[in-house]
Amino acid sequence: MLEIKDLKVSVDQKKILKGLSLKINKGEVHALMGPNGSGKSTLSYVLSGKDNYNIDEGSISFKNENLLNMDVDERANKGLFLAFQYPMEIPGVQTSFFLRTAINAKRKFLNLPELDALEFAKSLKTISEDLSIDPEILKRDLNLNYSGGEKKKQEILQLSMLNPDLAILDETDSGLDIDALRVVADGVNKFRSSDNAFLIITHYQRLLDYVKPDFVHIIADGNIVNSGDYSLAIELEEKGYEKMANV
């Protein structure tokens, strides 16, 4: 699904990623854990194609194509989804309208007809109920005056509706109370299948208690310094980053 090879990235001449490699196969859930400033969010932005990140070396292939040649929207429409750490507010644009626009953009890309309004309403209803999202909120402007929890649930709603092959969750657990965390995790688990893959970026182990990863990677100073299974996350929680990064 995704293969990152020896990726070196800098921002304004400052080196952030220093030769990172990572391979994610279909059906796998990978967790990427690391302290602040280790390059976690940079990786998510580089994967999704944000501006101002210079790729100095290395390659990324996504579904056997060169990801780095694609525009942001092309990556999205080919099945890469980023759940934002700070979802953007878009005043004047109704949440459900935004969702429909996004779905239809993808369908247009795939040469499919626009999604029937009724069909859209049905799946929106089902998925938002699963995520205990108040239907009223879907009529409001996107993310405007949403609580932190509502914003994160909204990201998972979009994820489920857009049905990506690879979903990157950038600190989706930050700012969530325990109930919201559970709802978000349930949403992810429900969506998880043998056809798709996840890259979960997080500081803490707690989301991983609910969404069990197949692989855990520790990133420090722009590189993956340790990889293992779920037990690595537990060990990390006990010992802290400083020790684990030096292993």
Binding site: G49, D51, V72, D73, A105
Partner: protein
């Protein structure tokens, strides 16, 4: 390249060749001699078989025009206009008298309107909308007239109204915009050619949207339309105008006067989607749009609401205003003005509070890209008699790129201590993070800009009649893609 830079480069790349109404039609026309003088005014008046009082009124207006200086308050670079270099009257040759039925209309004209998406054939007319169609200087057709006349509603061209309802015209023409108001008002009064006339009788709620579609076709021709709408006591009407013009390298002149009169408890909703040719991306050609629109809330509890979406024209100079004479009367102004490439707009409103408990609301959204300039200019004036008058003004500007300019110039005068005036203004740049977020959800750069800008304008667009709101939304997006389409 940063997302906004991408937007800017796309915006500049797309030239005005994308203006989809830019075609010109080969319609034989009859023109007045070029230039502006009493003989031309007499020619126009004679073409229309006008009564003497109107000819005299026109000639006086012409004299006034020659004596007045051009208004200079706007922040616009207006090239010297040679008023002698225009034709002031152009009529399709085939239309000597207004055709009695559509069968009599030149097929070339019908084709023109079909291309514009305005079907004139009755069986195809847009349901729920009656249309008056003005090509260059004359009204071509008015649909739905019979059905409307059963309710006592008069909807016809101003030329016909002068013939058929002289008393109404005489009573109200120039009563809201005095001839000597400023030079463009005087010019229009002297040479106005056609436009719409609406009268809604007492206690009638007009069941359909009334609409006028203006089209300038002939070369070097000015269009001077005159519209007069009277809503008698307890009546309601919603009126919409749309405008387009061919792409021509010369600047064309458009100076309209629109007068609205609302009597007791009457309401007029006036919407404009202005999509005149804006000129090419170097600023060559395009319409000079000098428009005077003013409504008088003469009656108590009357209401006038202006909604405008201004996307076209090389220069827009326009301040739809309300004179709130009746007690408890209401004035509203909702505006979206988009300028791209070399377009300039200086637009806003005047709310003149005279009656007691009068209220006004102004929502203005300016969007600016390319090298364009966009100014909101608005006056709120509260007279000493206007006890407990209230105004709320909100002006928001959105900038795309670093080479455009946006300005907000409010004038507030209050002679009354118990009035309440609020003014809010914001200026922002299109947010790169928002663009990235939308693109990450699969929207192209243009789609993302369109979505964000439409969200920005929503408070205004939602005041448009439903049938036109969707069109306007598309227009907003397209205007910023490159040009007006």
């Amino acid at each position: 390249m940063a997302a906004t830079e991408k937007t800017i480069s796309q915006v500049t790349k797309l030239g005005s060749s994308d203006y989809k109404y830019g075609f010109s039609s080969n319609i034989e026309d009859v023109k007045a001699p070029k230039g502006l003088n009493p003989d031309v005014v007499k020619y126009i008046s004679a073409q229309k078989n006008e009564p003497k009082w109107l000819l005299d009124w026109r000639l006086k207006a012409l004299e006034t025009f020659f004596n007045l200086k051009k208004p200079e308050w706007a922040k616009l670079k207006i090239p010297e206009i040679d008023f002698q270099d225009y034709y002031y009257y152009s009529s399709p040759k085939s239309i000597k008298d207004k055709p009695k039925s559509l069968d009599e209309i030149d097929p070339e004209i019908l084709k023109t309107y079909e291309k514009l998406g305005i079907p004139l054939q009755e069986q195809k007319v847009l349901s729920g909308i009656a249309v008056d169609v003005v090509l260059d200087s004359v009204s071509i057709a008015t649909t739905y007239r019979k059905q409307l006349s059963e309710l006592g509603i008069i909807f016809c061209s101003i030329s016909e109204a002068i013939k058929d309802y002289p008393d109404l015209v005489k009573k109200y023409l120039g009563s809201v915009i005095p001839v000597a108001d400023h030079s463009f008002a005087a010019l229009n009064s002297a040479v106005f050619t056609d436009g719409s006339f609406v009268y809604i009788p007492e206690n009638v709620r007009c069941p359909v949207e009334l609409s006028t579609y203006f089209r300038i076709n002939a070369k070097n021709t000015g269009q001077f339309e005159r519209t007069l709408i009277i809503a008698d006591k307890n009546s309601y009407v919603s009126y919409l105008e749309g405008c387009t013009a061919p792409m021509r390298d010369e600047n064309q002149l458009h100076a309209a006067n629109v007068e609205l009169i609302a009597l007791d408890n009457a309401e007029i909703k006036y919407s404009t989607v202005q999509n005149w040719y804006p000129g090419d991306k170097e600023g060559k050609g395009g319409i000079y749009n000098f428009v005077t629109k003013r409504g008088a809330c003469r009656g108590d509890n009357s209401k006038i609401s202006w909604t405008q979406v201004e996307t076209g024209s090389a220069i827009t100079w326009k301040y739809p205003s309300c004179i709130l004479q009746g007690d408890n009367s209401k004035g509203e102004f909702y505006s979206v003005a988009i300028t791209n490439n070399c377009q300039q707009a200086d637009t806003g409103t005047k709310m003149i509070h005279i009656g007691k408990n009068t209220t006004s609301k102004i929502i203005s959204k300016g969007i600016c890209a390319g090298q364009a300039d966009n100014t909101y200019r608005g006056q709120v004036k509260i007279s000493s008699k206007a006890k407990k008058a209230r105004n709320f003004t909100q002006c928001d500007s959105l900038l795309i790129g670093n080479t455009c300019g946006s300005h907000t110039v409010p004038y507030i005068e209050s002679s009354n201590s118990d009035s309440q005036i609020e003014h809010e203004a914001t200026t922002s740049k299109i947010n790169e993070e928002q663009l990235f977020y939308c693109q990450q959800r699969g929207l192209s750069n243009e789609e993302a800009v369109g979505l964000i800008v439409n969200g920005f304008c929503k408070e205004v667009l939602q005041h448009l009649p439903m049938e036109f709101a969707v069109e306007a939304q598309k227009l907003v997006s397209i205007s910023l893609e490159g040009s007006v389409g």
